[in-house]
């Protein structure tokens, strides 16, 4: 009786996803949604416990901090600083004009050149940015979407010029345009044409650059835009399926490209909820690829991911607390079996990371793997009654949310009509209200605040207007010295291929080799495809 009373007196706990958390879990809970629990092994389908049998025991996660600002020269220096500090991969940030397909001297680029990332206009800039960096030992990931076709073409052209074999070239392009319509916003072409261009890159890579990952599907930005963890995974999987369906229509075999699709996910909020989200999601993705698409190769079924960042979880108030939050996010990421880790720096919510902040983030990962033994055994939370039970619940909840998107006519249709954007922005408002009302607590922001806070201890990265002018001068010099006839030919070829509906990658590579600018290439494609008209939803 008293026990009953005590139970009634316990406050109910709900996760952000809406799932209820019990005060205690037992073996029955873990088995209830997954009778095969004891048989699950890492490296074996459906990969709940990890995609490799030995995980970090064999190879630690790649450490890949996001970096890039100003000119290609400045970015090259930051790259080398990170590599000299033990970073094992690069994650390139581009400025907004580059991301939107504009040249540095375009009037719309005024004040934006080199501001939030590195400015790229021509292949010459790529040559500078990666000068002295061995692209075979350091893998490069590019955070680029709307103009990803052009940046990938430049990367491949640079690799060829250096004499690398494209058949062995590794690396990743984010190149997930569907999520740009939901969050982040660097779209260029209408939705269907945008998907066509992404599928061109998948097709080209499957045939010519088979070890390169042409798309990293991003739940990350969808969650940063307000989605809850279930929506994050569900929308990302729907997007990955949309690209997959289109690639299959071109006659490419599922096992020729599925293993090169990867994911980028977000970490903030409840600790165990995020871990269960990844474990449940990994199991579900494996089942989708094998059961719905008939993939034979195990590697096709892997939900490979980069995870660790969670910008929306960080606060401006008491910014040093972000170092602590970030360390927890790193722990979540490692306990979830990530392949690559990138952490937000404590100052990143409002400025380009300082060198010191970037180093602290890198050290956070190094401390975890080298001092704390996080990689000693595979999936250390496997078998936890709570984590396993929540993993099962997540698998089902993600599946149910995906069915909802199907009910909207599929993700491409739901993005074009604005349905997804509406759902995500509603969720963002619900969360904001919950924070305002103190239902969701944020330390330093709506609780444990410091009186009369002037805790602005973050230094802002200065914008280098002179560097922007140097970039423009360099662009004009390249324009003046290139072979005009070769350029015209290459651009005509590109226009023709776009009009004929051919794969755009070969003509784009030829164009960048002739030193066509980002703006010239994108303008031609815009003239053929048109531009996206944003549906206004909030």
């Amino acid at each position: 009786m008293s026990q009953h009373k005590a139970k009634e007196g316990i406050k109910k706990v709900y996760l952000e996803s809406g799932l209820e958390v019990k005060p205690l879990y037992t073996r029955q809970d873990a088995l209830a949604g997954n009778p095969d629990l004891d048989a699950e092994r890492p490296g074996e389908y459906p990969f709940t416990r990890g995609i490799h049998p030995l995980m970090y025991r064999q190879r630690p996660f790649t450490m890949r901090q996001y970096a890039g600002f100003g000119s290609p020269e400045e970015t090259n220096q930051r790259f080398k600083f990170l590599i000299n500090n033990g970073q094992t991969g690069l994650n390139v940030a581009f400025d907004l004009p580059t991301q939107c397909g504009l040249d540095s001297d375009d009037p719309r680029a005024l004040g934006e050149v080199g501001r939030v990332g590195m400015a790229i206009d021509t292949l010459s800039d790529f040559e500078t940015a990666f000068e002295g960096i061995d692209l075979e030992s350091i893998t490069v990931s590019m955070t680029i979407n709307g103009s990803a076709l052009v940046m990938m073409a430049m990367f491949f052209a640079l690799a060829e010029k250096r004499g690398y074999d494209l058949a062995n070239l590794r690396g990743t392009a984010q190149n997930d345009i569907l999520k740009e319509f939901i969050g982040r916003g660097t779209w260029i072409f209408p939705v269907d044409k945008s998907v066509k261009v992404v599928v061109d890159t998948i097709e080209y890579c499957a045939k010519h650059v088979p070890k390169y990952s042409p798309v990293s599907v991003c739940g990350y930005h969808i969650r940063e835009s307000g989605a809850n963890p279930i929506q994050e995974m569900a929308y990302a999987f729907c997007i990955a399926k949309a690209y997959t369906n289109q690639a299959l229509l071109r006659g490419i075999d599922i096992d020729e490209f599925a293993s090169r699709l990867s994911f980028n996910f977000d970490i903030y909020g409840n600790f165990f909820e995020q871990i269960a989200k990844f474990r449940g999601g990994r199991r579900l993705w494996a089942k989708i690829i094998r059961e719905q698409y008939g993939a034979k190769d195990d590697s096709s079924c892997w939900m490979r991911m980069i995870a660790g960042g969670g910008g929306a979880g960080l606060t401006k108030e008491q910014p040093e607390n972000n170092i602590v939050r970030t360390a927890y996010y790193a722990l979540v990421s490692a306990l979830s079996g990530t392949q690559t880790m990138a952490l937000c720096t404590y100052d990143e919510a409002y400025t380009i990371p300082s060198e010191q902040a970037a180093q602290i983030a890198l050290r956070t990962m190094q401390i975890m793997i080298h001092e704390m033994g996080i990689g000693d055994t595979v999936d250390p939370l496997g078998g936890s009654y709570y984590v396993e039970s929540l993993t099962n619940e997540f698998e089902q909840a993600i599946q149910a949310e995906m069915a909802r998107v199907d009910g909207w006519g599929g993700i491409v249709e739901a993005v074009a009509s604005g349905k997804v954007q509406e759902a995500v922005s509603k969720q963002a408002y619900i969360r904001e209200k919950a924070m305002q009302e103190g239902k969701v607590l944020k330390v330093g922001q709506n609780c444990f605040t410091v009186d009369g806070e002037k805790a602005q201890t973050v230094e802002f990265h200065p914008y280098n207007a002179a560097a922007a002018q140097t970039q423009i001068d360099k662009l004009r010099a390249v324009r003046a010295t290139r072979d005009k006839q070769a350029l015209e030919q290459a651009l005509d070829h590109l226009r023709n291929d776009a009009e004929q509906g051919r794969n755009l990658m070969p003509a784009t590579i030829s164009a960048v080799k002739a030193y066509a600018t980002v703006g010239e290439i994108i303008s031609i494609l815009k003239s053929v495809y048109g531009e996206y008209q944003e549906p206004i939803f909030f």
Binding site: L96, C100, R108, E112, E317, S425, A428, Q436, F538
Partner: protein, 126 residues
Amino acid sequence: MIILLAKPGLDGHDVGVKVLAHALQEAGHQVHYTGLRKSVEFIVQRAMETTPDLICLSILSGSHLLICQRMGQLMAEKGISIPWLVGGNIPESDLVKLESYGATKAFATGTSIHQAVQYIESLAYA
């Protein structure tokens, strides 16, 4: 009030502006939102067409100084006296400068939606 929310420049971060749109709508105001990547010229033109009581600019890319300088110039050129605010990712040290360009008020990073709505409503009764 009729309020025009706008995203000038190339910045694609629209979570904040959309949350503000929801909050203002819930508080009973009529909200128009421009969508992403609009030029200052477009925004001022839209303001002339819809004659809002207030224009709010949201800028997170760091290019707020140039954009707001242009906004102030164009509003003066066109002789428009609609008050305008700017918020987003803005260091405290830039607030005075932004107001000198003609912004009725500039909000630094970390301003809560609640504070912004309160300020906006205070304008209605001023």
